[in-house]
Symmetry: C2
Subunit: 345 residues, 2 copies
C-alpha cells in the first residue's frame, strides 16, 4: 500500500492518505474495537469481520435520523472514545459517519474509505462533516479530519457513469483553482483514458486533484481566512439549485452547473477573462454535463431565497467564488440582475 | 466590568471570563446578529432586545429534541456562521447551547452567561458541550470553548438552596484537586459567609475555584493526556448513580456523593491517606450533602452496567479518579468488590 499524502492538521496531527491495491490491503488495516458504516451501494466494500450498520442510500437520508442510527449502533456495540469509526461509501455516508464520530463521546477516531470518485477527490480531506438540516445542505456539522483515508480505485469499476461524471465535476473545479496547469493539462490530454477508467490514469488524476485541495485547506483549515472558501467555486449557485430541486440532482452535477454559472457571471462582470471562461465551460461540456439548464423565471425568487440560506453568508451578504484566471479565485457578491441573467437565460 | 481570566486555547484564541456587576453591564455586551437561549428558570436573565428561545427546564430535556429547537430557531432567524449564540442558564442550557453553536454551520460564535453556581464554576470553561444520549449523560457532544463567559453573581440571589449546594459540590472537588490549599483554607474559614451568599465571598470562591479548573484544562484541552481526567473526580461514581436514578438526582448532588465514594474507595485501597479522606468527607457533610446514601444490593448489577457506559472507558477498562492527597489525583481501575463495599454499605 502506498501513502500518497500526509496532510498536516493543527495540533500536530496528520491525515494520512493511502492508495490500496485490493480489498485485502483494506482489511489488513482494520483493528479491533472498530465499527463500520456503509449504505446499500457501498456495503460490498465493508471491511471483513467488523461490526457494521448499513443505511439506506441517498442524499435525502442525510439527516439526524441516520446520524442517530449510527450513534445508537455504536453505543449498543460498546464503542469507547478511542474506538475507530470507519465510513465506507460516497460523500453522504462519509459526511455522516464523520459527523457521528466527531460527536460520539465528544470525538472518537475516524477512518474513511471513499467508494465514489466524488468522495475520493472531495469528501475525505479537509475535515468537513455534516448532515442536511431545515432544508439546507450540511447546515449542521463539525470540522473533524479523519486520521486516515484509504483510496481503493478498484471501487470505481462498479460506479455508474452518472456518479463517475459527478466526481469529474469536482476534479474540473480543482483544475481551475490549481496555481499550476498540471491538472488541466492532464485532463485535456487524458480525458478519454480517464473516462474508460484506466486505473493508472485514475490514480494520477486523483493524486493531482487531491494536491490542489490540500494546497487550499492547509492554508485555511477552518474556513476562517477566506482562502478555503475558494473551494466553494460553483457551490453557492449549485447548492441553491439542489435545495430548489429537493436534492433530485446529484451534488457533482449541481457543482458542475454552478461552476458554469460562476464562469458566466465572472465574464459578465468583467472579472473572468473570456478565454478562461469559454475554455472552462467547454471542458465541463466535454465531460458530458448538462450546462444549459435554466431556472424558470417564476422560480427565480425561490432560487434567490435558497441562495440566502447559504452558510457562506457573512455580515448578511452572500459572496460567490469567481475566477480572475488560472488559480486566482476571488470572493465577491454578485448583483441580482446578473444572477438572474446567468441562471434564467 | 472586570476581566478575571483570559484562558488560552489552542490556535491562539482565548476564552475571556468577566465579572458583571449588574444586568446593565450584561446588556451592553450584546451585539447585533445575536440569538439567546434560556430555560424557564433563567429567562429573567435574558439580555434585552435579543431574539431568544426559551426551553423547558430540567436534565431530562437535555436531548436532541431541545438541541433541534435551538438549531431550528437559529435557522428561522437567519443566523450566519459569524453570529453569536448566547447561552443563559445552568449547565443543561449552557451545554446544549454550546453544542448547538458548535454544529450550526460547523461552528458559530458562543457567549455563556451562567446563572447557577454549578455552571459558574464548572460548565463554562473547558469547552465541553453536549446532550444526554441513549440513557447516558453527555454521550453526544463536542469540544467547543466559548469566546466569552460573563459571570453575574447577582443571579445567585434567586437560586434555591438545593441548587446552590450542588455548585458547592464542584467547588469542594476543586479544593481537593488544587495543587495549593488556598481554596480549602478559604472554604474552611468562610463557609458560613458563602452560604449566606455574601457577594464578596462568593466572588473570591468562584475565582479560586475557576483557577483550579483552568490549571487542569490548559494542560490537557481535549482530555487526551489523562491530566484533565482528574476533573472527573466523583463523576464516574456519580454519573452511574444519575443514570440509575433516571436523572432524578441533581448533578452536583451526584458528584458530591461520588466524591465521597472515591475518597472511601481510595482509603480502602490504601491510596488515599485516612486524614485526607476523613477531612474531605466531613467538609462535604458540612455543606449539607447526603453522603450516606447506599445502592441497594439488588441494584448493584444495574449500577455496574451504568459504570460500564462511562465515557472515560479506555481499552475496555473503566478508570476512576482517586486522590493520593492534596492536588494528587490518580486514574485507576477499582476492583468490583471494593466498588460494592463503598456504594452498598
Amino acid at each position: 500500500m502506498e501513502r500518497i499524502f500526509s496532510v498536516p492538521l493543527k495540533g500536530g496531527n496528520y491525515t494520512d492518505v493511502y492508495f490500496a491495491d485490493d480489498m485485502k490491503q483494506v482489511n489488513a488495516l482494520v483493528e479491533g474495537n472498530s465499527f463500520a458504516v456503509a449504505d446499500e451501494n457501498s456495503a460490498s466494500y465493508l471491511p471483513e469481520c467488523v461490526p457494521s450498520v448499513v443505511l439506506p442510500s441517498g442524499e435525502k437520508e442525510k439527516n439526524w435520523n441516520s446520524v442517530d442510527k449510527i450513534l445508537s449502533a455504536a453505543l449498543v456495540r460498546g464503542l469507547a472514545r478511542d474506538s475507530l469509526f470507519i465510513g465506507v461509501g460516497g460523500g453522504v455516508i462519509l459526511d455522516m459517519t464523520a459527523f457521528a464520530s466527531s460527536v460520539y463521546m465528544r470525538g472518537a477516531r475516524l477512518m474513511l474509505l471513499p467508494t465514489t470518485l466524488l468522495a475520493m477527490v472531495d469528501a475525505t480531506l479537509g475535515g468537513k462533516t455534516g448532515m442536511d438540516y431545515g432544508g439546507g445542505k450540511n447546515l449542521v456539522g463539525t470540522f473533524y479530519p479523519a486520521e486516515s483515508v484509504i483510496i481503493y480505485p478498484g471501487t470505481l469499476r462498479t460506479l455508474s457513469d452518472k456518479e463517475f461524471r459527478c466526481g469529474m465535476g469536482e476534479v474540473v473545479k480543482h483544475s481551475f483553482l490549481s496555481s499550476g496547469t498540471d491538472l488541466s493539462d492532464f485532463l485535456s490530454d487524458n480525458l478519454e483514458k480517464v473516462q474508460q477508467k484506466d486505473e493508472e490514469s485514475l490514480r494520477e488524476m486523483i493524486r493531482l486533484s487531491l494536491a490542489v485541495k490540500i494546497e487550499y485547506i492547509t492554508k485555511d483549515p477552518e474556513e476562517k481566512k477566506g482562502i478555503r472558501g475558494a473551494l466553494n467555486l460553483g457551490h453557492t449557485f449549485g447548492h441553491a439549485l439542489e435545495a430548489l430541486r429537493g436534492f433530485s440532482l446529484s451534488h457533482g452535477e449541481a457543482v458542475a452547473w454552478g461552476t458554469v454559472q460562476a464562469l458566466r457571471a465572472g465574464k459578465a462582470m468583467g472579472i473572468t477573462p473570456s478565454d478562461f471562461a469559454d475554455d472552462g465551460i467547454s471542458l465541463i461540456k466535454r465531460m458530458g454535463f448538462d450546462c444549459d439548464y435554466t431556472i424558470p423565471e417564476e422560480e427565480f425568487a425561490a432560487y434567490c431565497n435558497a441562495i440566502g440560506k447559504d452558510k457562506k453568508k457573512r455580515d448578511g451578504v452572500v459572496k460567490f467564488v469567481l475566477m480572475e484566471g488560472q488559480g486566482k479565485p476571488v470572493l465577491t457578491p454578485i448583483p441580482e440582475n446578473i444572477v438572474k441573467a446567468v441562471v434564467c437565460h
